[in-house]
Amino acid sequence: MEAVPALRAVGQMRPGDHLLLGYDTDEERETVLAAFLLDGLASGQRGLVLTPGDIPAGLALSFLEAYGCPVDEEVAVGRLAVDPQLATPEGLWDLDEVIRREARRAVADGFLGLRVSMEVLCGRAGKSLKTLHDSELLLDPVFASLPVLGVCQYDRRVFDEEELIPLDVLHHGRVAADLVWHDELLSITRTFAPPGLALAGEIDDTNVTAVARALHAETARARGRTANGVRTRLDLRDLRFVDVGALRLLVFSALGLYAAGGTLVLHGVAPHVQRVMRVTGWDRVPGLRIEQGDREARGEPPP
């Protein structure tokens, strides 16, 4: 089993943090980055995006529009900025200098601090990862001494996990999208590859409403991805308990999706939960698909 680095929700970041984002899809990158930058705007900080390509700021940040951010306006007043620093040949090498300078400038311009996101491209990382390693190493003192917090983004479709692991020690940890819900029994997180929700813990009468709300929002997002044949996927591998009332919610959601040509996919349902679904006939409801556990997900044959 691979060691899973500790994940911190983007909403829990604070000045001095320098976290690594390994993302699988553009949706995941945009979700984390949007929260990161919008939290910065709300906190009186400047948001700076270092891109590996020279594209206009409005275009580079256009995904923020979907989150209700007036991008052009924010760029015009200098609250958001885009710098093609990482597109230059020395982009990585003097990265620490750039961030030190930008952090000081943000304060001089009257901001309470700077939030900087950096998209690291494999090509720019050099033949070996040494240059990247060195530049990340130089960044740390900057984050330790100035009111700046940063996210280094690594596209996992380009970087192997083996390449990311040595970089973990150069960051304060990894960052992930905010939790959708968290209480003493249950946490709900978004998953991106494949897209859906992961439910961990226990669902009963105290938190079934939170599940209903999360499921409703996720279905709306799924509808945004595909016009028809909506698939809403719930990863239930870490769900230890779910009561009949909550299962009924899932069944009725599935029936609703089915009526619209869609499916609710339940992944990794524990055997004792499947048992309850069998005796209620809920394993055969149209629109509900129960996927088997990890093996199938990894494309392995059943035992």
Partner: protein, 327 residues
């Protein structure tokens, strides 16, 4: 012989010949009519029927009664699943010989209740259930009760008559309730655990219950079942029983017993008839909770009322259950 609608008959037999006389043509008629035929009978009777059916025995599904008649509600669930899988538009004919040997009085009473409830559970089906009763071995009260739980008596090949003593299932259900000894659970014993619960606190109760189950040597799967079943009763007590109550946990050599008692509520609503005995439609808005409770428990006894309700769930403890041989 063709019939329409649901048929439920008792066949009292005192010899191998009488058993065959009552069941053989029943099975043959079913096969000839294209019915699904299921025979859940004693091992000895499986052999008799197989031999008599000859080449056609392969078309009948045989199940050893000991493997099928585990616990009443679950057996009812199994029959439902079987009829759903094999019935469809077809009639299902069942030769179903319940197991009476080795039952405690309480268990036997619940099996009698089960026989009566079949009349409700399959009332709207066209299935045909024939229940053999061996007059050589069964106690008189079991035989007597068979005439009250079956609308008809089979009297040999293709002959039947109204029982004449058939009791309405609702009346019989109440009679079974009244016959249950009102023995309170022991207080303050070493093996006891009383857990008070209130709205929104069921997670802590689930944790304590799982710990009690493990202390009692229950296997992991049965612990999950217990937690799920007891939780549903707790939710009902909170919703319909005034917001809280007490969960009493006890164990005897045979069972772990979980009793949920609430204090009642002024706005108490009458529960459905035969609560949890009839499988709700998968798409129904309610009624799944008590069905799940009965499917996951081994035995359930309930006493529901506006001034307080008690639901007692029994979970057999592990260890080989040795059924005493039939006399």
């Amino acid at each position: 012989m063709t019939r329409t609608g649901f048929v439920h008959q008792a066949l009292c037999y005192g010899s191998d010949d009488e058993f065959l006389e009552g069941t053989l043509e029943f099975a043959r008629d079913g096969l000839a009519a294209g019915d699904a035929v299921l025979a859940v009978v004693k091992n000895h009777n499986i052999a008799l029927l197989e031999q008599a059916l000859g080449s056609r025995s392969g078309d009948v599904q045989f199940v050893d009664a000991d493997d099928w008649y585990g616990y009443p509600s679950r057996t009812l669930g199994q029959y439902h699943a079987y009829c759903a899988d094999h019935g469809g538009d077809r009639r299902v004919r069942v030769i179903g010989e319940p197991v009476w040997a080795g039952r405690t009085d309480f268990e036997a009473r619940e099996w009698m209740r089960y026989e009566s409830l079949l009349n409700v559970a399959f009332a709207h089906s066209a299935h045909w259930i024939l229940c053999p009763y061996d007059t050589r071995t069964l106690p008189a009260d079991v035989l007597r009760t068979a005439t009250r739980t079956h609308p008809e008596l089979a009297l040999g090949a293709r002959i039947s008559a109204p029982s004449g003593r058939y009791a309405d299932p609702a009346d019989f259900y109440a009679e079974c309730d009244a016959a249950l000894p009102a023995d309170p659970l022991p207080e303050g014993c070493d093996d006891c655990d009383d857990i008070r619960f209130a709205r929104g606190r069921s997670a802590a109760v689930r944790g304590a219950l799982a710990a009690y189950a493990r202390r009692s040597g229950m296997p992991e799967q049965r612990t999950h079942d217990m937690v799920a079943a007891v939780h549903e009763v707790l939710v009902n007590a909170v919703r319909f029983g005034g917001g809280g109550g007490v969960l009493r946990l006890r164990r005897d050599p045979d069972y772990v017993i979980c009793e949920v008692a609430d204090g009642g509520a002024r706005n108490w609503a009458m529960p459905a008839r035969f609560p949890g005995h009839l499988p709700p439609d998968a798409r129904a808005v309610g009624g799944h909770g008590m069905w799940v409770v009965r499917q996951l428990s081994d035995l359930v006894a309930e006493d529901l009322g506006p001034t307080g309700s008690t639901v007692r769930m029994y979970f057999r403890r592990p260890g080989e259950f040795i059924r005493p041989p039939a006399v």
